[in-house]
Amino acid sequence: MKSRRTHVMNPRRTRYLAVPAAILAAAAALSACSSSAFAGGGQATFTAIDETTPITVGAPMNPFNATNNTFPGYDIENLGWTANDPANSNQTLPGLAQTWTLSPDGTTLTVHLQPKAGWSNGKPVTASDVRVSAAIWFTQSYVQAYNLGSVKVINAKTVQFTQIPGSSNNQFESGILQNPVVPASEYGKLLPASIWSIIAASQGTGKAAAAATTQLTTIGKKVTEFAPKTDISAGPFAIARINSGEAELVKNKYFYAASNIRPSEVLMLHYSGNQQIWSYMQAGRLDAAPYTSMPTNVLNQVVAAGNTKVVAPSLVAVALAFDQKVYPYGIPAVRQALAYVINRQAVQRVGEAVSGIPSKTTTGVVSSALSDYLSPGQVSGLNMYPTDPAKATALLKSAHFTQKGGQWYLPNGKPWTITLSNVSGFSDWVAGSSVIKSELTSFGIPTSVKLAPDYATYLTNLYKGSYPVAFWLIALGPGAYSTFSRIYGTYDGYVPSGARLNRYPTGNAAADNFLNTPNSVSVPGLGTVSPGQLTNQLTSVNLSGSGGIAQQNAIMAKLIRATNYTVPVIQLWDYINVQFVNSKRFTHWPIGNNALLNASPGVWMTYGYVHPK
């Protein structure tokens, strides 16, 4: 699912840049590349790094490959770009889609392409390109979660997307628009003629559907392995050359908004970790840099070097998650007690001093979005979980835990120890967990920190149920459903299937359940609620209909209160999107435009920003 992928990208960006190139690494020249470094140099050369593409040697210029050398917003153009609006998750900035209309029932999306849109080889971008791209989205599982059923070409510049009959997913609009469009002339040959029959069969039930899904997966693999010889771009730039150290992107004169693009070329620099990005910024080499985790001392140096810190909201928070099937974390009092022990201010100050704020309390949504869903009275009625060891002690004693010689013992008499799981190289998480370790150990629960070598291993172990207490990103907005799906969605075993909501245990490949929350919980003042069911209901609320927003907010309020009381996760800090721009060579930055700041500088340029001095 692209949207899910996109939503995970934001935090991944947060984490990735805290990760010294664990996922994407290395370097060597592509066969077609010159061995010499690019001159760059001209006044209109914009130099940057890409938050998702550190430049990997040998990686294809194919956006569907997990390790690729493409640059969203520069040489990859989506139909649209998310505005990251917490109040309306469907809010999207036009990209290749100039305009679009959603049918009143929200099930049909008609997209009108930019009339002047052209590929960098001079051919026009057409509805057929979009239809081929849509078929590829199916092979990559980008759109199934949004119930996309069929795609119809209306005319050369108009294409229509329709949901599976009977379904009504309120994230359909943004879920479709946030996907990249690739040239049919290059990617069409990777698809069999019967691709749409296979897609239709995969949406059915039984063995035929399973077989079709397998077929789609096989085709998807072929797509990801495809390595185009040249970069045919519908974006403002196209890759001209690439080597291990940098990529040179030249202006696409056929781009629909070519007149808005002021830089003549873009140099994308390779990086292997935070330290290298800090060095680039301290040397004044970057005209713009995306979010990069850094301590305050480095921030001061980066700013002193002439870089300007640009802040935008970020709808991501980090939390300590519990596997409730592992004793004693299924006991609510235990999780509540731990929430009283952990000093969130200290954890944030050490873990994410520059790009985070301590979460006000633990609710499953970022603190700044609470007022979108709750009245001031409801907000003040939440348990803020201030640091209060006495309350923690009382809660644990009420759950029959005992304390001897400063050490806490489980009701079964065994000493209680905690292993916090984390990822090597995620410096903010690791630093934060070190503080938690210190606080819990001082409280009488000897705690150690265990690091997985990389994020992929971490996730594999997490989904296997190997980590009872682990760091986890939550509140991934925008969108009510995506916010709570990080707690009560697939990671809690809930997977919707048509009108039915299935629940799978840990270890079942159909879901990645490692949270194992109860099916229903009893919340004072709210009664018994089923968080998984409530979260799933968020997908089908008709947000464009009257009362839709109120209905959504009522569900969100219940989920927030339930999460605040039952503490399936302890929310630690909310991220802030801190970027940097350098005005030595360019000016006209979209400062204050939060929607654009969520996209890459390539999109800023499309909208007329970034002028050479």
């Binding site: 330290q275 060095s279 301590p295 001392n297 140096q301 410096s427 690791v430 070190s434 690091l451 070598p453």
Partner: protein, 303 residues
């Protein structure tokens, strides 16, 4: 039955005199040059730190989020780390893991390498072939990458497990060298005489050959310690083993990758402290090697 005849006091004194002389001689060897004195003093200091250091501080070192990367002061002579913990306390409490695992690694390396080399070189034939094939196998395994892979399944939180693994992957070279020396020694006349007298192989290996290869083994013991220090700190530096803020490798990792110590003077003491400790320790060991060499080779003392 053997009769035990007690020595007269003056006879006992005469017997212990050479022992005392030998001890005095060893001390003289240690104190003969300033470099050796320095090496000995540094090793003694770090050993003391490893033994009593952890008792000087609370088990859970206090943190202070309001003093992150604070500069050196009276309260924090080496400054503070990313969570405001005293760097000196981290260095002192971290010494035990580094030294203990290095010593264990060296001991395991020496034990396995020496036993394998002696047995292989002395018995030859099938034993030699079998042991050397295993040795070749160990030698072909790239040690450090293997350790990185092992760290994903093995808990290196304990210095014993770290030392054991480092020792197990590091004995191949020593075994080969000891075997070569044993092969050369076994043809010497005094060993032929020993065999002619019908002395058992075990006696010949331990009493006749081992003392002759002991200097080489002793040198390797010290070099193995430095190798193990580099390897374990390297593993922690790469961040592939359990996270412990007082580990010197973890300190280096955080200083370089998270604190910006390479470019930021604020975190410089945090970077330099473990680095200097590692350098001092390895330098001290190398300086001491000289004395060990002389100790085992009396001829060198005359030069």
């Amino acid at each position: 039955m053997t009769a035990i005849i007690p020595l007269l006091p003056e006879e006992a004194g005469a017997a212990t005199a050479p022992v005392r002389r030998r001890r005095r001689g060893r001390w003289r060897l240690l104190l003969r040059t300033p470099g050796r004195v320095f090496g000995f003093a540094v090793i003694a200091l770090f050993t003391l730190m490893a033994i009593i250091g952890p008792y000087l501080y609370p088990r859970n070192l206090p943190i202070d989020p309001s003093a992150i990367y604070a500069g050196p002061s009276l309260a924090h002579p080496l400054g503070t780390d990313f969570e405001g913990t005293d760097v000196l306390a981290l260095i002192v409490t971290g010494a035990r893991y580094v030294l203990l695992s290095a010593v264990i690694a060296a001991a395991v390396t020496i034990a396995i390498g020496t036993a394998a080399g002696l047995a292989s070189g002395y018995y030859r034939g099938l034993a030699d072939s079998s042991i050397m094939r295993v040795t070749d196998f160990v030698l072909t395994i790239p040690g450090f990458p293997l350790l990185i892979v092992l760290s994903t399944v093995w808990d290196f939180g304990s210095p014993y497990s770290m030392g054991l693994v480092l020792g197990i992957v590091g004995w191949g070279g020593l075994a080969r060298a000891v075997r070569s020396q044993t092969l050369s020694l076994r043809e010497r006349s005094f060993l032929e005489a020993a065999r002619g007298l019908g002395l058992p192989g075990r006696h010949i290996i331990w009493r006749e050959i081992l003392p002759n290869v002991a200097p080489y083994i002793a040198m390797n013991l010290l070099l193995s310690i430095t190798g193990a220090i580099y390897a374990e700190v390297g593993l922690f530096f790469l961040g592939v083993v359990p996270f412990n803020t007082s580990n010197w490798g973890v300190m280096l990792n955080i200083a370089v990758f998270s604190a910006g110590a390479v470019t930021s003077p604020q975190a410089l003491t945090y970077l330099l402290s473990p680095l200097i400790c590692i350098l001092l320790l390895t330098l001290a060991i190398v300086l001491l090697l000289n004395a060990v060499d002389e100790w085992f080779n009396p001829r060198l003392r005359e030069i």
